[in-house]
Symmetry: C2
Amino acid sequence: LHATTVSILGERALIQRITSRLSQPSWVVVGPGDDAAVIEPERGALEVITADVQVEGVHFDRRFVPPDAIGHRALAVNLSDLAAMGASPRAALLSLVLPDTLEVEAIDGMLDGLLSLAARHRLSLVGGNIARSPGPLIVDVTATGAARPRRVLTRAGARPGDELWVTGTIGDAIVGLRSLQRGLDGPPRRLDAVAERRAHQCEQRYLRPEPRVRIGILLGRNRAASACMDLSDGLADGVRQIAEASGVGAVMDASSVPISEEARRWYECQGLDAIDACLAGGDDYELLFTVRPAHRARLRVVQKESGGVPITRIGIVSRERQVIVRDANGQRELPLGFEHFRRDIR
Amino acid sequence: LHATTVSILGERALIQRITSRLSQPSWVVVGPGDDAAVIEPERGALEVITADVQVEGVHFDRRFVPPDAIGHRALAVNLSDLAAMGASPRAALLSLVLPDTLEVEAIDGMLDGLLSLAARHRLSLVGGNIARSPGPLIVDVTATGAARPRRVLTRAGARPGDELWVTGTIGDAIVGLRSLQRGLDGPPRRLDAVAERRAHQCEQRYLRPEPRVRIGILLGRNRAASACMDLSDGLADGVRQIAEASGVGAVMDASSVPISEEARRWYECQGLDAIDACLAGGDDYELLFTVRPAHRARLRVVQKESGGVPITRIGIVSRERQVIVRDANGQRELPLGFEHFRRDIR
């Protein structure tokens, strides 16, 4: 008889096991299970808080992720969670768990990446703590943000007939990761200048993702979105999460999923289907959101103020509780997504 | 030429290296360097936030710290930080970094300890995240609390002539830790019933410390304390930290330091000086605070409402920037404290 261990149970079951034990007082507006928690400490002002831990060897590989990118990513994943709630970033705490052998220069580099991203989004690093560790490097960031009541975005507001939208392009980060991993394992790559530039662009998307803070705030402030989340775990996972939280389904149009030219060409060269790969991929930190047909004008306002980030309609919310992908060959149920926890570095 | 690594630099130098790069906007009332950060998101209401990471093998040893105590301690250290600021606990986030081989029962146990302490202090666990790890078990808790402007307690308000006070008793936790460690390494202990009970009491103080939440809130609300901090790193460290932050010194009366009968007897049996050991020890999570002589009446109000926790005067704040210990043999400068970072499990 074996004991049940963490590796057997998996992330979602573990989270479920924890959250099932929690009861929340009335001032907890959004508890566990969304991109971030929302509390209402004073009437009329919401506080949004989120924490995300990055573990070396699980979430990043120090052999090809430079220190500044580790710092950037550790904050970016939290900013992306705040953006997904429509919150304005405010303050952060940084917990560092450091191997004894880590060079101090690497810490400086992590701070460079973290602080320059923080400055761009007017977020202040106000505290934290440092511990040493016999294990891997761990960077745990907690971030808080502000939102107004009834302007906060959750995953649970989608209704049948709402349109499904995403920001930016999907899939680049995974291509970038694969490219970085190949540079590590394989022989030195020989690419022409165009392919080299393509690979570099995707690598940047993996190493230094730009959280969609401004669009998230605009979507909340203008009440343009009925549900929203960020795509840390991929588009397929995202659509399923919104559908589950809202008690609905969705029909996605495969041909409209915004895949960059760089990612599409990379998958072609590998002989892989770009759509399937991009549906399953992750680390994009784009926003997925739903919009009531009657609120299209609000979305146009958001689009005009969002500084040129593309927003693409990729499907529609349905009553039937399943997620369908339509393409030229017909329609099929969405392939089962991965669980982040089991997957490690993809 | 060797690169400077984490182990060479030490905790304080690392923290200094980070905080020297930070600039804080005006709404950051207390930045890094105190027990917790304080921000003023809305005029008139302060938010206190703190994070503390506990690493297996560094902050606790799973061979003699049971899961519920790991969970209790992980939250207690944060509650103690909030108490030291005079803040009322509100919400917490839990980041778990779990080895694959960890049994799910251990996670349940950690939650038992954490949630029962949270319930007693009316704090809600509102979110967090889980990651797997190839390394040690890591429990990182972020806690937020509320305080009113000008009621928040920092380390920086002590003035010459203020009295130096501590809550509870000092040194029990370290005795408890030593006792637990001995149970691990040595032959099975043979103690009489009295000694066994003494050891057990000290072990409980180490395993399940009671953060002084109520007294912290009372000290802040009644404006009884001019400076305050918690004794996570020991009394000697605490007095020095308040002295440094306030730009003052202190004279401590060794004979008045409240050492429990249990701890005193334990040190006697070891042939060690109890005062020196208790000054250098840590993990007590008592509060150290200073009181203006004119505010003694306020302190009496706190004492009356504090539910029987003893409060002891142990010295006085001085103008000369040094920390002096007076005992029957005369006076001496305080022995140099340890650095938590270098020390690991004491």
